[in-house]
Amino acid sequence: MRLLLTGLSHKTAPVHLREKLAIPEGSIPHALQEFQKMGASEAVVLSTCNRVEFLLSSPDHIEPGVIVDQFLQAWQGSAAIFDGHIYRLESREAIQHMFRVAASLDSMVVGEPQILGQLKAAYAAAKTEGSVGGLLETVLTRAFNVAKRVRSETGIGQMAVSVSYAAVELARRIFGSLKGQTVLIIGSGKMGELAAKHLHRSGASRIWVTNRTLSRAEDLAKIFNGKAIEYTRFPAMLHEVDIVIASSGAPHYILNRDDMQRVIAQRKNRPMFLIDIAVPRNIDPAVNEVEGAFLYDVDDLEGVVNANIQERTKQAEQAEAIVFQEVEAMMSRLKLEQVTPTIISLQEQLEEIRAAEVLRTLRRMPGLTPEQQQQIEQMTKSIINKIAHGPISELRRNAGQPEGNQAIELIRKVFHLQH
């Protein structure tokens, strides 16, 4: 059985080529049928905004690359436009690539979780079409397990790599759960809205919005089912707020150290998280000196993101080691599967000879007691087991070795085996 993975990704092709090869969700069943008609034993199509990949298996006598060429010809009119961008990986490389993709090591943002879901959806679509069930099934289900292992054994997916997620991560480090926390958005900057959306999704239930123009505050508040507050009233309500997102266009500081000292005293020193994503800044940096107040501006959040990216890179090294280990294990398993029919064939042939010879011998010696017959059975079984032990060990040892095929072929010839 041959295995081929071919396609384009954000690493090899620009978006205008990726979108040409992309297969819309509704057309995937048709594409899978086409692959099977063209001679593929199994096929899976993974089509996302960052990658389009085809995973095929075919019988030994069919070249899977030819199937792909035919498919591209039929589907796109020509395969030539993808030259230099499309990659073709076989056997071990194909498995390694699939494992890396599933573990999000080949993603644009390393560690992002969406790709695993997309791969599972591609597998489910292929399963529905009946285009997986053998080798690809084995490879993909292992890939899902590898992704799970990478996530649990490394911290690759735990660190926020966008400014708005970094804000959520920090809020969690301060408050633990965001459930029931009150968020105040000052101003109507897009970044502020995005950060508030993430906080809201993470459990912050009360969202208040204030703006010099009340109608704008009301519009934004509606999105979160929140409350609009008059701009002049917000300082008096600040002590009830746990997280402040400042993104107003005010040219000066709207919160200073004294304000914050008063607010923190009113809160009985309960911590408060202030995110200043306005430029020019809305909150006096000295506010961070107040005990219980944690102020982060855009640069601070960027700093957190950069540190997280570095950390993810470190974790990715660990993840690569896991993938390598898993690929090795998978290859050994597949290699063993490759010689299993030969081993079974050898055992069956020897058993057939043994059974026939025992039968003949027993007919010639009718006076034997059942115990004596049993002993002959045992003895002959023991002889063929000892004879088979050598060749079986050799078959296992040579499975998948570069020059192993010759040894396997020799054993087949010596014993006149069909498989």
Partner: protein, 272 residues
């Protein structure tokens, strides 16, 4: 001290104990479920307390501050009166977390001046002692958690302030979780330690008469309890967090260690 004046003082101590219960509930559950009842009981207790002091004064024809028991009782009454006046004027209910337990313990000490007959059954005395040791050790363990959590809180807070992020600090619990842990362990520890102390006061009073008050170990225990009480008060009433809680909880823990060492002899006695 006259029998009836001691009786009134003991009634006052019983009424003040509702205040102690309220303080414990406030610290552990963080809500003032019993405050109204406790305040009324406290007022009524103050009345009995006043009667006791007046009766003692009339009997002695002087201010009843002749020994440590009377002084304790008198001080407790002054604190009670001051608290009620402050509460009447400023509605400063949060002080009760500190005042209620303090007044109760002081009044209890004051009410234990007249010796009573020792335990008729020694099992009773030993049982009380075992409960005291168990409660005190549970209190120390809880304080250990408080101090450890407070130190971790400090580290996490510093990292957040310095805007540092790395995998080690990501492993530390969030500030909110640590704060919750501090509050809960502090509340439980306070409850255990108070129970342990009240039991041992009664035990020592019955077993040793009035001699117990002169024991240095008792003084150390009182100081430890007072530090714990201060920690609880500043935490609940003034919302102390971070550095202040960490320092005070470490001081309280050190006091507990000293108390524990001072009681090594007591342990020997238990083993015998």
């Amino acid at each position: 001290m006259g029998e009836s004046s001691v009786l009134w003082l003991r009634v006052a101590a019983c009424l003040y104990s509702i205040g102690l219960l309220d303080a414990i509930i406030t610290v552990v559950r963080r809500r003032e479920a019993l405050f109204r009842i406790a305040l009324s009981a406290f007022g009524l207790g103050a009345l009995f307390h006043l009667v006791s002091i007046v009766e003692q004064g009339l009997a002695q024809h002087q201010l009843p501050v002749n020994d440590i028991f009377q002084t304790m009782s008198f001080c407790a009454f002054i604190i009670t009166a001051a608290f009620l006046a402050i509460y009447y004027r400023y509605k400063a209910g949060s002080l009760s977390v500190f005042i209620f337990p303090l007044v109760f313990v002081m009044t209890l000490v004051g009410a234990l001046r007249n010796p009573v007959s020792p335990w008729s059954n020694p099992v009773m005395g030993n049982t009380l002692l075992v409960v005291h040791v168990a409660a005190s050790l549970a209190g120390y363990a809880a304080l250990l958690f408080t101090a450890a959590s407070a130190v971790v809180y400090l580290v996490q807070e510093k990292q957040l302030k310095r805007k540092q992020t790395n995998s080690f600090y990501r492993m530390l619990p969030p500030l909110g979780t640590l704060d919750d842990l501090i509050s809960k362990s502090l509340g439980l520890g306070f409850a255990f330690l108070t129970i342990g102390m009240v039991i041992v006061i009664i035990w020592a009073f019955v077993g040793m008469g009035t001699r117990w008050i002169g024991e240095p170990r008792v003084a150390i225990s009182f100081i430890t309890w007072a530090v714990y009480l201060a920690l609880v008060f500043f935490r609940v009433s003034a919302g102390w967090r971070g550095r202040k809680t960490a320092i005070l909880s470490i001081v309280a823990l050190a006091c507990c260690m000293i108390t524990w060492l001072a009681h090594a002899q007591l342990q020997k006695r238990l083993l015998q």
